[in-house]
């Protein structure tokens, strides 16, 4: 127990954190308002035929909303574009004030915006590089919530708060991956878990001989049913031995 006791404490603390906090809350689902704003077809006054003339390479065209404005989104090679569907004006990449407006539109919590930052390279661990470039909007509230808005699609690509960041750390400690938190198949975990298996087995044997068996034999001697006192006595004795 000297060798792996610490890991048992880490497993139980990190495991408890992960099961007590609802995973949807951890994922920040409650930070977001799931708007169901409908597209108004009569607003699509910029014809897509014109769009395809202006952008012949446009692919994967979609129609959606940017807050309350109908927009066309499409790709040219890997690059994402967004146009105002009423007049064809290019909206991508969005300005800081648009990013702020989008973030406030979707943010469900309290607190004002602290700052906004455009991330174009070297994203933090919590933002996948495929979402770049993206605006990070930080809000002043419990748990330091942040929304990430894609600069080219104007969509919320992800959200984070401290509870999720802490969860990621908890997971890493739980699987003993002190490297990048992605790998459960590491040798360190294997050796410790193997030792832990022996420790738990020996603990179970101890529990049987020190807790279960004394309680059972004591009850027999007394010749009565398992009253609370009858079980409690041998436990105390065992505790002192």
């Amino acid at each position: 127990m000297l060798f792996i006791g610490m890991q048992f404490v880490i497993w139980s603390v990190t495991g408890a954190y992960m099961v007590f906090f609802d995973i949807d809350y951890i994922h920040g689902d409650s930070l977001i308002v799931n708007h169901q704003t409908k597209i108004q077809p009569e607003k699509l006054t910029y014809p897509t035929q014109t769009l395809f003339q202006q952008y012949p390479q446009a692919e994967n065209l979609s129609v959606g909303m940017l807050i309350n404005r109908e927009v066309y989104r499409f790709n040219i090679d890997k690059q994402k574009f967004m146009l105002d569907a009423t007049n064809g004006q290019q909206l991508s990449p969005i300005t800081e004030s648009s990013a702020l407006a989008v973030a406030k539109h979707f943010y469900s919590g309290d607190g004002e915006v602290i700052n906004a930052r455009l991330i174009t390279e070297n994203p933090p661990f919590e933002l996948s590089s495929r979402h770049l470039p993206a605006w990070r909007i930080n809000f002043d509230n419990f748990g330091s919530p942040a929304l990430y808005i894609s600069a080219n699609s104007g969509k919320v690509v992800t959200k984070r708060h401290e509870f999720w960041r802490l969860f990621d750390w908890m997971f890493r400690f739980h699987v003993m991956d002190y490297d990048d938190g992605e790998n459960v198949s590491n040798w360190f975990l294997f050796i410790i878990a193997l030792l832990a298996q022996f420790a738990v087995l020996s603990g179970l044997v101890l529990t049987y001989f020190k807790v279960i068996k004394p309680a059972f034999t004591n009850n027999k001697k007394r010749g009565n049913s398992a009253t609370f006192n009858g079980q409690d006595k041998p436990l105390n004795n065992g505790g002192e031995s």
Binding site: M1, L2, G5, M6, F8, V9, W11, S12, V13, G15, A16, M18, V19, F20, F21, I23, D29, I32, N34, Q36, T37, K38, I39, P41, E42, L44, P47, T48, Q49, F52, A58, E59, N60, L61, S62, V63, G64, M65, V184, S185, N186, L189, F190, A193, A196, Q197, V200, L201, G203, L204, L206, T207, K210, V211, I212, L235, N236, G238, G239, E240
Partner: protein, 242 residues
């Protein structure tokens, strides 16, 4: 203090000893299994590209589609069996596996398309490169054991192969949810044990695991204190015993 530490340790061990064994054992299983196999994609292949694709500008214009089907939150494009379709999201969940409502429109003919049993099995076949044939098709609406988080009606297409592959196709969108097979179910069984997810909800936030986790905390902390106590009292004497 040590009296209570030992007492807590004993009671806690009595309550959760067996579960602790299961936790450590299933944890070891995750550590040693082949994670590639456990994804269940042994017989999955990328769908074939279309031979002669229609240029996007020659598809039905999205303006007329949206006029015909108002109440749409988003219109996107998708391909089913290499043919272009418009996917109209009428009710949008936060994630794809949350409840969503879709309309599927053939982008060439404008026909409103339902993902029928036939279409679903063709989509499944196009994603499958194993030796099996389709043995059964069923529409599942809730409690999908292989995909417990999926909240949308989904076709399950079973294949007769050595791995008992099942392919899942979402009814609303025609999206290939994924493949599952005996290797994946083997890992899934241990996840169920590890998460005490006896209701197959695909979640580790259930009441029984919270209770056990709470008691485990007491067991581990009391054990930790006990160990420190024993070290201080010189109960771990390796050198002395030599």
């Amino acid at each position: 203090m040590m009296f209570w530490t030992k007492k807590i340790h004993k009671w806690a061990s009595l309550l959760i000893g067996l579960q602790l064994l299961i936790w450590v054992f299933s944890g070891l299983v995750f550590n040693v299994i082949d994670h590639k196999k456990a994804r269940g994609n042994a017989y999955r292949q990328a769908p074939a590209a279309s031979e002669h694709r229609v240029a996007e500008k020659d598809l039905l214009p999205v303006e007329s589609i949206l006029k015909a089907y108002p109440d749409t939150v988003e219109l996107t494009q998708t391909k089913l069996l290499a043919k272009p379709y418009y996917l109209l999201t009428q009710q949008q969940g936060l994630y794809r596996h949350f409840a969503n409502r879709y309309l599927l429109i053939n982008a060439v003919t404008g026909e409103l398309t339902k993902v029928s049993e036939q279409l679903a099995s063709n989509i499944a076949k196009a994603s499958y490169n194993g030796p099996g044939e389709i043995t059964s098709i069923a529409l599942l609406t809730a409690n999908i054991a292989d995909y417990p988080k999926q909240k949308n009606p989904t076709w399950r297409i079973n294949f007769s192969d050595d791995l008992e592959t099942s392919v899942y196709v979402e009814q609303g969108s025609g999206r290939l949810v994924g493949h599952s097979n005996s290797d994946k179910r083997f890992a899934g069984f241990f996840f169920m044990l590890h998460f005490m997810d006896y209701g197959d909800e695909g979640s580790f936030n259930n009441i029984q695991i919270m209770l056990f986790a709470f008691v485990t905390l007491w067991l581990a902390l009391s054990g930790g204190i006990w160990t420190v106590h024993m070290v201080r009292n010189g109960r771990y004497r390796l050198k002395a015993s030599r």
